[in-house]
């Protein structure tokens, strides 16, 4: 695994635990979806844990991110609360979005997670705007936009990246290239072999990293974040990754073979790879790692229990949060 900077054991263990948290959160979400307890669309992040974790390890408090419709991992790595997450997936009032967002819109501006987004590429310009606000308000914070390789064909990607480049804004664009835009293989989405090449078109650095290697992702993100904080402008990072599960829960996955999925699970599981690294270097013992799984499993269990026991919103809450404050005239139309 890539490592150029000596990282403290605390930091390495934070990365490990964060990846385990995402993995167990997602496995539990899959289980609850299969049981019919979670409804709607659920897009899981299993297999991509190293990307969110590596990037977030390079950020500091006050930095912000925007997500995709596959953002549970981004939310958790940014410090999201597991209870609020499950409660949101259940549509409960105690959810991160008071039950109004659900899986595709999970957000918590308090921790700098400005929002997952149901529109492919929709959140990319928001990160650029957040970075503009940092610049004009004199803060040395950075904004990160996550999106998929499918999103990199979107107008929002091209327009936002160009704006950030000409204005030299502190943004890091992180493309999670998991090879499939729902069912369409990467090779059929664009002719270039790496999304990172697109940086050239906008006059900014484009870096491609192994998205299954949390330290490689961290290293790339750290450089990009430092460059952004120095006022030198944005970087495009492409993390080559793979989703172990379907596009969404219930996806029949007719577009890829079982063998392909198994190869990735057996050879490129980001948690197993990192485990090997930690054990081989005697950074952690097997017992320490097992303890992490046990502790997180308990946290997940508690979070689900909290979510199940939480109340649903009252019907009146339907009318709240449309506008910031009451005003003269009629805002929400009622025909009665």
């Amino acid at each position: 695994m890539a490592q150029r900077e000596e990282l403290s054991k605390d930091k390495l263990m934070w990365m490990y635990e964060t990846m385990v948290k995402i993995r167990l959160h997602e496995n539990k979400a899959a289980e609850l979806f299969a049981q019919g307890k979670i409804k709607g669309f659920v897009h899981l992040y299993v297999g991509e844990e190293a990307v969110a974790t590596g990037v977030m390890a390079a950020l500091k408090p006050g930095d912000v991110i925007t997500g995709t419709h596959r953002s549970h991992g981004h939310y958790i790595a940014k410090g999201g609360d597991l209870k609020a997450s499950f409660a949101e997936l259940f549509g409960k009032r105690t959810g991160s979005n008071k039950g109004k967002g659900g899986s595709m819109h999970i957000a918590d501006p308090g921790i700098g997670m400005l929002g997952a987004n149901g529109m492919v590429g929709g959140g990319i310009p928001h990160a650029v705007g957040a970075a503009l606000a940092f610049k004009l308000l004199g803060k040395d914070n950075v904004a990160v936009a996550f999106f998929g390789e499918g999103g990199s064909n979107q107008q929002n990607f091209h327009e936002a990246i160009n704006l950030a480049a000409i204005w030299k804004l502190p943004v890091v664009f992180v493309c999670e290239n998991n090879l499939y835009q729902i069912s369409l293989h990467y090779s059929k989405q664009q002719l270039i072999t790496s999304v990172a090449e697109r940086g050239k078109a906008y006059g900014i650095p484009g870096v491609s990293v192994d998205g299954q290697d949390v330290l490689a992702v961290y290293e790339a993100a750290r450089e990009a974040v430092e460059r952004a904080r120095r006022g030198e402008g944005p970087t495009l990072i492409e993390a080559k990754t793979y989703r172990f599960r379907g596009h969404f829960e219930g996806d029949p996955e007719v577009y890829r073979s079982k063998e392909e999925v198994e190869w990735w699970i057996n050879n490129k599981d980001p948690i197993k790879l990192f485990e090997k690294y930690l054990l081989e270097r005697n950074i952690a013992t097997r017992d320490e790692l097992d303890a992490v799984w046990k502790r997180v499993a308990k946290e997940i269990e508690d979070a689900v229990k909290f979510a199940e026991e939480s109340p649903y919103p009252s019907p009146e809450e339907l009318y709240e949060d449309v506008f910031a404050k009451p005003t003269n005239g009629v805002l929400v139309w009622r025909w009665d």
Binding site: K100, P109, H126, N162, V322, A324
Partner: protein, 332 residues
């Protein structure tokens, strides 16, 4: 007296922007040609020199990108005023307005605020043809989460724009009709704010209520003047903000006159005009002495040729005919 001074609609808007930028450092302007050039209609003239390129930002022609950036900037504490050069360009950026700006507050359970103003230009009348002449405000009215403002006088323009920028914590779509830019009217030099959701009775009358927007307010007033000579007393109401809507003023007028004409430059179907007609029949049915009349353009794109464009835009004569129709209506 300063308050009797007459300036143009463009100057009124410019004064509002200037004042808002001077009192709140978080206010920034973004858009195509808003900087050195001062905006294609001159609304941002002089602001670049006064506030500099950091706060008056010329953008590439990339509406989705810079409107989306305004959304992000608003979430993080700025108050962006973004110019969409023509409302017709909405299509290339609509996602950022109706799926993002409008919904982020709701989707996050109220944790996010998007206090931005999208200024844009509507209206036919200068032979700009089908892609630079539309009045698409109904599309914004349709989407919950957006406030929609469409002033008709320089006085209203300044007061409403100051409210939009300085007081509102929600995304506001501020629509300026291009035929109004040159009109003059009394505007106080000092700053003042006009609250949203308060209609203005532009002319009082007792026989027929006319609800009109933007340029059509002036045509409705002209029609009312002419009909006064025929003994018909017309009340002209300009709602000024379409969301929120001053339902009370509109309904009270209908209850008083018993007759309603709606004049609007939006396309006829699923429009602001049909919205007000539905309001009247669902909430004031028993007061109506005649069917509601709508005066709108036909359901065709805006044509180029002067002759055709003149036919397309609701004329004072068509408004007068509609008013006479409801005034002389006899139940069969």
């Amino acid at each position: 007296m300063a308050s009797t001074r007459e300036i143009t609609f463009v100057q009124a808007l410019n004064e509002a922007l200037d004042y808002a930028m001077s009192v709140d450092k978080r206010v920034i302007i973004m858009g195509e040609d808003v900087g050195i050039y001062g905006g294609v209609f001159g609304v941002t003239m002089g602001l670049y020199d006064k506030y500099g390129p950091e706060r008056v930002r010329d953008t590439p022609i990339a509406e989705s990108g810079f409107i989306g950036a305004a959304v992000g900037a608003a979430m993080m504490g700025l108050k962006p005023v973004v110019e969409l050069m023509f409302i017709d360009f909405l299509g290339v950026a609509f996602d950022q307005i109706y799926n993002q700006a409008a919904k982020l507050r709701y989707m996050t359970g109220g944790k996010v605020k998007v206090p931005m103003v999208l200024r844009t230009v509507c209206g036919a009348g200068i032979q700009a043809a089908a892609q630079h002449s539309q009045s698409l405000h109904a599309l914004f009215i349709h989407v919950p989460g957006l406030k929609v403002v469409i002033p008709s006088t320089p006085y209203d323009a300044k007061g409403l724009l100051l409210t939009a920028i300085l007081d509102e914590e929600d995304p506001v779509v501020f629509i300026e009709h291009k035929m109004l830019y040159g009109i003059r009217g009394p505007v106080p030099e000092e700053p003042y704010k006009i609250p949203f959701g308060v209609a203005d009775v532009k002319r009082e009358g007792k026989d027929v209520t006319v609800i009109a927007t933007a340029w059509m307010v002036h045509r409705a007033l002209e029609a009312a003047d002419k009909l006064a000579g025929e003994g018909i007393s017309v009340e002209v109401i300009d709602p000024r903000t379409l969301v929120p809507l001053d339902v009370d003023t509109i309904l009270n007028s209908i209850k008083k006159t018993g007759r309603l004409v709606v004049v609007d430059e939006g396309y006829p179907r699923a429009s602001f005009a049909t919205d007000i007609a539905a309001l009247a029949v669902s909430k004031a049915f028993e007061y109506l002495k005649a069917p509601v009349k709508l005066v709108t353009p036909p359901a065709t794109p805006v044509p180029f040729s002067e002759v055709l464009e003149r036919e397309w835009i609701p004329s004072t004569e068509k408004i007068m005919k509609a008013i006479r129709d409801v005034y002389y209506y006899k139940r069969p």
